[in-house]
């Protein structure tokens, strides 16, 4: 490899283009690029959004979503053998007997646990299981903030319009109402827990705009908003002494003889022992599918985002929705190589940074809804050929971060974006002086297990869900700041309504009949495969090692 000359973190050849960006900065700081009409959006998406590429999807062959087009990576998991054979599992021995089982200990799961407890379930009758550590989730990584319509110039009605328009009018209105109406409750609850949202001396929340939002309603805590919320929730879960099993995954749901979900088969990730957990109500809060790398995209997601919840739910016959829709975050890092795919928070644009091409020109309004913004960046790089190519051949455009310092004053980035600043500084890039190179990255599962009402219920009795694993609230596209809101709103509702349900529930005999049935459907629909699911963790080991591996121990 020839040695590249690196100047302040960037190869010398990129410096030419950075000069062009610097040259237009002053002028651009006074210009706003025009917003697209609904028609322009539709045309752009059709032509450039990865979701609209037909060959990247295929119809699912069986089950309640038979015939639905989904990405190959998702179909591969649904058209796969369940991990457990019912004959190997002794359901007569119950290891954990609980009122409410919560699968997934991220933001949604912990919120659900706390609200189940507030609603009257004793801590010891709740169980959170978490395949890695408590709090390991995408929730901890969300940076930009939470949307909540709590300012005098704002209203839940405007938030409702933003959500449903951003989702291309495909959302379930009942769920959108819950999101829009509960925002202020969530902020109040977080304040009571002690979450440090930025406020002024009078207590007025510091709020910014986000893509597709008509009001400045994004509340933040520097660019560690997710971390600040989640560590507070975790502290509270530990203080309430709610039982948590870490490094334990759910490999199959259990039903009772009336097909109601009644717990799960758990699996110790380290000792490989299984446990039977019986629960009157089960809440699925397993997050999304970023680590499936749909269409080969890099991802912003947590190591554990492997769509386990989708698979478990589909095994018991729960309906999914909008699984054809994937969110690519417009601004993923593409340089340096070590951080390719990692998130550059939308807050960077909310604070005033513009996406700019290699000539230093704006080409899109900085805060379009995410799918539209991402498509415009793809078009700029591939149709218009105005991208900058990295040393490893990835194209991207600039996100002109120094503009923030120019328009909001020096030191703004240090104060508002310390995580971003730190991330780039680790590779000798100073984002207060130089722009950063970005391209869309796989970010969020827009669809999921269908939530059938605002009580966080799914189509199967006894199975509640909250957060990214669900479908319906965002339709075909989620707006920024609505993911924390979603797991908070529906985590709370799942906790409350699962409590109500559990209090009345008398379970029948435990079974895994649905697994046998699933195997039968698989066979009858002609699927021939060795695949097994859920996969629990992605596979990143080197090919050389895997090709010579022996399964001995």
């Amino acid at each position: 490899m020839s040695k590249l000359e690196i100047v302040k973190g960037y190869p010398r050849y990129m410096r030419e283009s950075i000069k062009a960006v610097e040259k237009t900065r002053d002028k651009r700081s006074k210009e706003t690029f025009k917003l697209m009409s609904l028609e322009e959006r539709a045309e752009l998406l059709q032509k450039h959004h990865p979701d609209y590429k037909k060959k990247e999807k295929r119809p699912l062959r069986f089950g309640p979503n038979k015939g639905d087009l989904m990405p190959h990576e998702v179909v591969d998991l649904l058209e796969a053998h369940p991990l457990v054979n019912p004959r190997d599992i002794d359901l007569s021995h119950v290891d954990f007997d609980t009122d409410i089982l919560i699968i997934g200990g991220g933001g949604g799961g912990m919120t659900a646990a706390l609200w189940a407890h507030y609603s009257g379930i004793p801590a010891e009758n709740i169980l959170i299981i978490q395949k890695l550590r408590l709090q390991d989730s995408n929730s901890v990584m969300s940076q930009g903030g939470v949307q909540a319509a709590d300012k005098p110039n704002d209203s839940p009605l405007l938030h409702y319009l933003d959500i449903i328009g951003g989702g291309h009018f495909t959302n379930n209105p009942e769920l959108v109402r819950a999101l829009a109406m509960d925002g202020a409750y969530i902020m109040k609850w977080h304040e009571e827990l002690g979450v440090e949202y930025r406020r002024d001396a009078e207590g007025t929340m510091f709020t910014l705009s986000g893509g597709g939002a008509s009001r400045k309603r994004m509340h933040s805590a520097r660019d560690y908003t997710g971390l600040e919320i989640v560590r507070t929730l975790k502290d509270e879960v530990l203080n309430k002494e709610i039982p948590v099993l870490e490094f334990t995954s759910a490999v199959e749901l259990i039903t009772d003889d009336q097909n109601r979900v009644a717990g799960a088969v758990l699996y110790n990730m380290e000792t490989q022992q299984y446990y039977v957990a019986r629960a009157k109500a089960t809440i699925l809060s397993t997050g999304g599918f970023g680590r499936l790398h749909i269409q080969g995209f890099p991802t912003t997601n947590h190591y554990g985002a492997t769509a386990d919840g989708l698979v478990l739910a589909y095994h018991v016959g729960a309906k999914l929705r909008d699984m054809d829709s994937v969110q690519y975050h417009p601004t993923g890092a593409v340089y340096p190589e070590q951080i390719v795919g990692l998130l550059v928070t939308e807050k960077v644009r909310s604070l005033g940074a513009q996406p700019v091409n290699k000539h230093g020109e704006q080409f899109v309004y900085p805060l379009e809804p995410r799918d539209v913004e991402a498509s415009a960046i793809i078009r700029e790089c591939y149709e218009k050929n105005n991208g900058i190519e990295t040393t490893t051949g990835i194209r991207g455009v600039w996100l002109d971060s120094p503009l923030i310092e120019l328009t909001r004053g020096e030191g703004t980035i240090q104060k508002e974006l310390p995580a971003m600043l730190r991330q780039y500084a680790r590779f000798d890039i100073d984002m207060t002086e130089d722009p950063v190179l970005i391209f869309p990255t796989l970010h969020f599962q827009n669809g999921g297990v269908e939530m059938i009402n605002d009580k966080a219920e799914t189509s199967i009795s006894g199975l509640f869900a909250a957060g990214e694993v669900t479908g319906g609230a965002h339709g075909k596209n989620r707006l920024m700041g609505n993911s924390i809101l979603e797991y908070s709103v529906f985590g709370r509702r799942a906790g409350m309504f699962a409590t109500k349900y559990a209090k009345k529930m008398k379970l029948g005999k435990l079974t895994l009949n649905h697994v046998t049935k699933y195997e039968k459907m698989l066979k009858e629909s002609g699927v021939e495969t060795d695949r097994k699911a859920p996969i629990l963790l992605p596979e990143y080991r080197g090919e050389k090692v895997l090709s010579h591996a022996l399964d001995i121990l």
Partner: protein, 215 residues
């Protein structure tokens, strides 16, 4: 970890270990510098100095030898923040060991986020919640400071209590949040939101397109 591997140039420690054949159950989390699950200690051959890093954020170097922290056994008392007050003594009451701090600054040197850990432990000792909250805010709870402290303090748990008390009792409350909660409870938006839910797609699209955008 005592076994030598050759990996391609430019990988992070995490990706290098995976390339070499390790599959993480512990020691990998968000892979983006936010969760603190991949705390790593290492030395470079020929250098006495023990260094720290997050495996997901640090590029491997020639002669690097390392291990990861799979778990931190950390003292965390149970408390009810509703019943506490932001008093000068509250941190000392729950974490009396902070009085044993010998100001050696090892915690600060062990912080992969470059936080002034010792300074916030000292602020905790003085009962200065605001200073603890400010200095510790970017903490990702990786555990390295706690494992390196010669007097067994768990700085990040002390800071967590301080931040909760500061956020709950010292930061001013947002009146507009309370006002909005009240309006929602009184049903101020119920009828209009019902109309939005029931209206035709064309009307909804028109209302969406015509809504004014706050600049």
């Amino acid at each position: 970890m005592g076994r030598e591997y050759q990996v391609p140039f430019g990988l992070t420690i995490m990706k290098a270990m995976e390339y070499a054949g390790y599959r993480f159950i512990r020691g990998a989390g968000c892979r983006g510098g936010f969760c603190g699950s991949c705390a790593t200690v290492y030395r470079i051959e020929g250098d006495y100095k023990l260094r720290v890093a997050l495996a997901c954020q640090k590029t491997v170097e020639d002669g690097m030898y390392l291990t990861q922290l799979p778990f931190t056994p950390a003292n965390k008392p149970v408390y009810d923040v509703e019943k506490l007050s932001p008093s000068v003594n509250v941190l000392l009451e729950y974490y009396p060991e902070i009085a044993k701090c010998v100001s050696c600054n090892t915690c600060t040197k062990a912080c992969p986020q470059d936080l002034e850990v010792m300074d916030y432990v000292q602020a905790a000792l003085r009962g200065d919640l605001e200073e603890v909250a400010r200095l510790s805010f970017d903490c990702i709870g990786c555990g390295l400071c706690a494992m390196r402290c010669p007097t067994s303090i768990v700085p990040y748990n002390v800071a967590q209590l301080a931040r909760r008390l500061y956020g709950k009792y010292v930061m001013p409350r947002a009146k507009h949040v309370d006002d909005r909660v009240k309006e929602v409870e009184e049903g101020k938006f119920d009828e209009e939101i019902k109309n939005l839910m029931e209206t035709s797609l064309d009307v909804l699209k028109e209302r969406y397109t015509k809504r004014d955008i706050e600049k």
